[in-house]
């Protein structure tokens, strides 16, 4: 919808006329809808947003500096805490970087387990996104449904990885421990439960006319701007760019798996919503294929006792739930890295927000931020 600010009818050239100046409002850092501690400075004219500036750094923990003081195997537990909703993918990205540096080959069973865990984490993360999207737009029920499904995935994680959220399960060389005997039964039960439920959720929220009015045409991100900013993940794919790290730069056993990458072309919040719902369906297909073809064998390659990173530049890139996360490791021959740089998907995705929100209303800021799906500790590192 095209919104034009209403011109002020009061004459401003008389000596007693009030002076009009720009109106700035702070949204955050403590706010129920900013998905973490993010502060947005809005320049408003009435309800129309003329400009927006994100202020970051409220949860900047210095993870990159800490990486220079610990070994590569000690650093994996910090990678969980970046974008904690896709903890498995973060661990995988770091493990890829270390495995490239050391030239380790990961056993096949570990590769299959990695894919299953990552796709379960993707579904769990999208369910939280969906729940919080409903809650931000005023509906509390999706929040409860989303967390109900998250709890089922957390039960599977807890049995195998030992933790629900910050798992630290995928490590350089493979995975930490083999799966339990009823892992396959649990995962298949989850797939059977979740497949019809996605359709129900799509009608519940997506079929709601109020939701459609609030998201169609709101916050349109063009493909050129998205490419130039380095946006990735569902944010980019909803703008029509076919880029998924699992397809364009595959890793693990993804070349052998048969799945589609959902794309939309409009680039508005509705498109981002549809892309994420479709991604959840594709993740179920991936999990089923990986589970059906899982071989037996060891789950972790043998690493040397003291892991020394050779001199050079190594980069591990994976598709996290929100986009492409990259771990850049510069080694110098000792057991501690010389430099660790985390390429955060949310950092680049949030950079799109100031451009796409111009002309929208204040209530749309919440809708657009929700569909951009940012997790602030990943931005701030």
């Amino acid at each position: 919808m095209e919104l034009k600010p209403i011109p002020n009818p009061t004459p401003t050239d008389t000596p007693t006329a009030p002076v009009y100046e720009d109106y700035f409002v702070n949204m955050g850092p403590q706010h129920p809808s900013t998905h973490g501690v993010l502060r947005l400075v809005l320049k408003l004219e009435g309800e129309t947003v003329l400009g927006l500036t994100p202020v970051l750094g409220y949860v900047h923990r210095g993870i990159e500096k800490m990486g220079e003081a610990m070994t590569v195997l000690q650093f994996t537990h910090l990678t969980d805490r970046l974008d904690y909703l896709s903890a498995h993918m973060n661990n995988w990205g770091w493990s890829l970087a270390v495995e490239q540096a050391l030239g380790i080959e990961v056993p096949a069973r570990a590769e299959h387990i990695r894919v299953i865990m990552s796709e379960l984490a993707r579904i769990s993360s999208h369910q939280l996104w969906w729940g919080c999207l409903g809650m931000d737009l005023g509906a509390f029920t999706p929040f409860l449904y989303g967390f109900r499904d998250r709890e089922r995935v957390n039960d599977i994680f807890e049995k195998t990885c030992g933790a629900r959220l910050t798992v630290n399960y995928i490590r350089p060389g493979g995975v930490t421990a083999d799966v339990e005997e009823d892992f396959a039964k649990d995962v298949r039960a989850f797939i059977d439960y979740f497949t019809p439920v996605i359709d129900e959720y799509e009608t519940l929220v997506g079929g709601n006319i109020i939701f459609q009015e609030r998201t169609k045409g709101v916050g349109v991100l063009g493909a050129d701007l998205a490419r130039s900013l380095g946006c990735t993940g569902p944010t980019l794919r909803a703008s029509g760019v076919c880029y998924d790290v699992r397809r364009n730069r595959p890793y693990g056993i993804y070349p052998k798996l048969d799945f589609l990458v959902p794309i939309a072309t409009e680039g508005d919040s509705w498109a981002r919503y549809k892309v994420r719902i479709a991604e959840m369906r594709e993740s179920l297909l991936i999990i089923r294929q990986a589970l059906d073809t899982m071989p037996d064998g060891p789950v972790r390659a043998k690493l040397p006792v003291i892991v020394k990173v050779p001199a050079g530049r190594w980069l591990g890139r994976v598709e996290a739930a929100r986009g492409e996360i990259g771990f850049f490791l510069v080694g110098d021959g000792t057991d501690k890295p010389w430099r660790v740089k985390v390429r955060s998907p949310n950092f680049s995705n949030l950079a799109a927000l100031p451009e796409i929100i111009k002309g929208c209303r204040v209530a749309d800021v919440v809708a657009v931020l929700s569909t951009l799906d940012v997790v602030v500790p990943c931005i701030d590192r």
Binding site: F24, V25, V41, Y58, V59, M66, L144
Partner: protein, 204 residues
């Protein structure tokens, strides 16, 4: 991060912190009627503690899980999680507190009406957690910023652990009495830089 300019205010804060009563808050004196009224008020307060929605990082997800349907904290009275500190009874500090956020957190705490309580959830809020070593921007425990009542370790703590800590807080309130004196703020050496949105707006 501007340091507190005057040594006098910093010294006063330190003195107040060190001279506080180590046994906690004594129950109010009064006859039978007043103590019974106090018991009723305490019962009402413990069973209806409304938390402020404050979550910085991973512990916030477990706090949201406690608010969801499997482990439901509204059974215990934490029904309404308010977004504004003016209407909240307690604050669950879930997540890492950095120096940049700490001054804003003190402002939030001072905006809460008395009586108010603080629960430090997670290892980061208890002591700095996994970021204790080598991090330059993490406050090593929220008890350097706010007076904490209950500490909950874990990274992140299980939802059942959070429920247990909430029950411990309720027991503490029953023991101390619901109406209490203010607890002094710990001395925190960084002043609050006022937030002026016009200065932070990037016209580019």
């Amino acid at each position: 991060m501007a340091l507190n300019e005057t040594d006098a205010t910093a010294a006063a804060q330190v003195a107040q912190w060190e001279n506080q009563d180590p046994q906690g808050q004594a129950p109010p004196r009064g006859g039978f009627v007043l103590t019974q009224i106090d018991r009723v008020l305490t019962w009402a307060r413990t069973n209806s503690l409304w938390p402020l929605t404050f979550g910085t990082s991973c512990c916030a997800i477990e706090m949201m899980s406690v608010g969801a349907s499997r482990h439901d904290w509204s059974r215990f009275g934490f029904e309404v999680a308010r977004a504004t500190p003016r209407q909240a009874d307690m604050i669950v500090v879930a997540g890492t507190i950095t120096f940049k956020m700490a001054t804003r957190l003190r402002l939030l705490y001072s905006q809460m009406p008395d009586p108010k309580w603080v629960l430090a959830m997670g290892a980061c809020a208890t002591s700095g957690g996994p970021f204790f070593y080598d991090s330059y921007s993490v406050v090593k425990g929220v008890d350097r910023v706010l007076p904490v009542d209950v500490y909950l370790p874990g990274c992140p703590p299980r939802p059942e652990a959070l429920l247990h800590s909430l029950m411990l807080l309720q027991e503490k309130i029953r023991r101390e009495g619901g109406s209490r004196r203010q607890r002094p703020l710990p001395p925190f050496m960084f002043a609050h830089t006022p937030i002026d949105p016009k200065k932070e707006f990037n016209p580019a």
